[in-house]
Symmetry: C2
Subunit: 301 residues, 2 copies
């Protein structure tokens, strides 16, 4: 069994550098016999002498020189490992894998990334945009550190942090701008455009329009909110979008935005991560950044 220690490598390097047991021991902050013993032990482990002990000088053997090169390499790598750790434990740094649902990602991510990278030097953000069930799976498998989704998720292994509530607004063709805002029930009689299956926002919109009722008959599906808004602009129907999307999606399309009367349709947005994640503390910081970004985005809407 090989039983070299890093301590021995450090002592060895010091002795090779000084060529003198006493001075090398001093720089290692140990006594001279302690250094002698460790060098001797190291030689025993390696099976060859590393130094040639003369009366006036201590010199590396040829073998010792080979070992020295290797030892310095090893010590350098170990110190780098320590550097990695130091960089990593300082607040937010290192790799951070964030999952985001598609109905949030385009509107919130630019601000989040800007704020996070600006305030945290060595932070390396990886993003994943997909629907909630996939995000949950990837969290469980340890392939994501956190996800920004609509709450509740109700997975026992996840911690949920509530960030903010966002309302849904009605998107109508521009020509309807002056018409009265319809009641939710009226929406069933209009052609309602929705996202494809799998998006939580589809379900949220449906539950608002068809609260407690059976599923609708025929619906036209779009693959993104952007597509839906364009379709509305073309007069094909109406849709709901989260208020955060308003600023971005209504810029080019000829559509009108209307808020509902009475209780607003809405959803709670939050962040989730594994309850056991050691990043909890840092993720709490991230959550604050996301909350601030979300509120700012809504204010701009």
């Amino acid at each position: 069994m090989l039983n070299l220690t890093l301590k021995q490598l450090r002592y060895f390097e010091a002795l090779a550098r000084h060529g003198h047991f006493g001075r090398a021991a001093e720089t290692c902050a140990i006594s001279q016999p302690a250094l002698s013993m460790q060098i001797r032990e190291m030689e025993a482990v390696l099976g060859s002498e590393l130094f040639e002990r003369g009366a006036r000088q201590v010199r590396l053997t040829g073998f010792g020189e080979d070992v020295l090169l290797r030892a310095r390499e090893i010590l350098r790598e170990v110190d780098e490992l320590a550097d990695i750790a130091r960089a990593a434990r300082g607040s937010l740094s290192g790799r951070l894998r964030i999952g985001v649902i598609p109905t949030i990602a385009p509107y919130l991510l630019p601000a989040i990334i800007a704020r996070l990278t600006e305030a945290n030097e060595g932070l390396d953000i990886h993003l994943r945009e997909t629907v909630t069930p996939k995000l949950i799976r990837e969290l469980e498998e340890g392939r994501l550190d956190t996800a920004i989704v609509a709450l509740p998720v109700s997975e026992p292994f996840l911690t949920e942090v509530d960030l903010f509530t966002e309302d849904f607004v009605l998107v109508r063709p521009g020509a309807d701008a002056e018409k009265p805002v319809p009641q939710p029930e009226k929406l069933r009689e209009m052609r309602l455009l929705l996202l494809e299956e799998g998006h939580c926002f589809r379900d949220q919109a449906l539950s608002f329009c068809y609260a407690g009722q059976a599923a609708p008959r025929e619906l036209l599906d779009g693959s993104s909110l952007s597509t839906l808004v364009q379709m509305v602009g073309a007069g094909i129907g109406v849709t709901l979008i989260p208020e955060m999307a308003v600023a971005v999606e209504t810029r080019s399309a000829h559509v009108a935005i209307a808020r509902f009367n009475g209780t607003q349709p809405s959803r709670r947005i939050g962040m989730v991560w594994r309850r056991t994640s050691p990043l909890s503390k840092q993720l709490m910081q991230v959550a604050e950044v996301v909350r601030a970004a979300g509120l700012a985005q809504r204010a701009g809407a």
Copy 2:
């Protein structure tokens, strides 16, 4: 102060591989609490958690994965260091720096190198050919491991090993082949060709011809024995050469070889190395090889 240990890196690697404290501890041949403690200690040193301890599984954190890559690299290098040591301590191997004086090198080295490299796989021979004082200096400075020279050297820091004695023979023009062999005193009246200053063989030849007497008047110097023999062949004078050189140097030249009557002029050839050299044991082996090569070379003369 950084206080990582290789032991911790090994434990860490095992735990990362197994994802299970109990089994990892088993492969490390320690108890489970011991492993827990070392991992905890390592996390404390690095300042971040390496593993995410779930109820059913132990998984690396992102930081832990970074550390794992580095740790595996380090462990690999340490093991390689052990390999180097194992290869090095097997009899004769690794770098061997041999110095040889010029009046021996051409005649003995081919046989020595052949024998040494044939019998010892990983032996890497470096050669240095120069005059004795320079060899001594380089030995002292640790730039050579051993030297083959004429004894005695009488340097207190060197170990001398006697290898063999070689006689000097007279080289005369081919036309003189049948003449009686002159007494040493007669040589003073003949034109004696010698090596340049600095070669010990020059001094040895002089002390034979001018035993106890003052230095000669004018001498013609050659830079090598080969040159001297060629000069003799051209009828310029006579010279002495070590018997080992006879086979090689008289092959092409038109010269006659003669042994002196009575006590032969000679010198002792030996190997020297630093008394403190850890290679002593191996160098003794080398000395035996050199001795055998020298005897074989003389026999062939």
